[in-house]
Symmetry: C2
Subunit: 186 residues, 2 copies
């Protein structure tokens, strides 16, 4: 049976709704009333449980950031992230990249979380090469993933938006391997 008075469930519903809406519309164009409405609760509870819209946004990013990278060893991170971005056809906006990209946001804890998320990706990727500028190369590969996400999700650029996931993944990993592979003479 449903439990109408359940703080934990209400908090979770707010977080889920916020995750979805921030991802779809970005920070500015998502209102606390929208979030509360989608969660089916009163908007005052958002402030009771999360303090502010900014703090809720930071929580969304922190939660998703923590869930990342757990499944993918570094060797397959690029491939897996690309496949996820390309394949989740109906709802690619669930990917945390979207919430971040759609919210150019300066102040608040979100800035820290956002940067930290990039750091985690880049650190994992940089382990794949022993070049001197490994971190710069990792940043460039991360930039590629981000750019593909933007062109697909934000611009809707064709033919990329509807391209076959395997084809795109193959092309990108092939080109990126120029930057990330270990020196063959090692």
């Amino acid at each position: 049976m449903s439990r109408p008075r359940d703080a934990a469930a209400t908090k979770a519903a707010l977080l889920d709704a916020a995750t979805k809406l921030f991802g779809e519309r970005g920070f500015d164009r998502t209102t606390v009333r929208d979030i509360a409405s989608l969660a089916g609760v009163n908007q005052a509870l958002l402030f009771r449980y999360y303090g502010s819209k900014d703090a809720l946004f930071a929580t969304v990013l922190a939660t998703q950031s923590r869930e990342l990278l757990e499944d993918s060893p570094a060797e397959h991170l690029l491939r897996n992230v690309l496949l996820r971005i390309m394949e989740e056809r109906p709802r690619p906006e669930d990917h945390p990249l979207y919430a971040v990209l759609r919210s150019s946001h300066h102040d608040s804890a979100a800035e820290v979380v956002r940067r930290q998320m990039g750091e985690e990706y880049a650190r994992a990727l940089s382990s794949l090469t022993d070049a001197e500028d490994a971190e710069l190369r990792a940043d460039l590969v991360l930039a590629w993933v981000v750019g593909i996400g933007v062109l697909r999700g934000v611009f809707g650029k064709q033919p990329l938006a509807d391209a076959d996931a395997a084809t795109v993944t193959a092309l990108v990993t092939q080109a990126a391997s120029v930057l990330l592979e270990h020196t063959r003479l090692g």
Copy 2:
């Protein structure tokens, strides 16, 4: 001497201010009061000369889009765009990419202009390879440029944000050439 009553100069000042602020903050976080204030004119003139904030934004994008691609033949387009993004250290936000990237959303004519801008880049790039999926490859290269711009300008991701322009350009063009070069057996 200055001409205090000069409609053309006022219009231009508003466009300049809007270009700068939209590029720095994006559409949502730029207010018409900010634009008018930076231009040194009354905000009512913004509506007299451009009709609405949306229309002004569309004008900004259309103006910058028209100025693009005029200097660069296709062979050097990637290189030149990369250098421009990487080198304009103090004010990279002048690049029209930034105004678009920071304003991911919204209907109106801006959507059309934004997509058209991507089309022009992609068409130029796709001429560089004779592969079957030339357009997809061009999209991927365009995505890379966009992603680098995002990581630099929006995220401020290090070490990319302060990396040497020539180094970045060399790495990217080298890897991208895997996608864009003509088949060697032709």
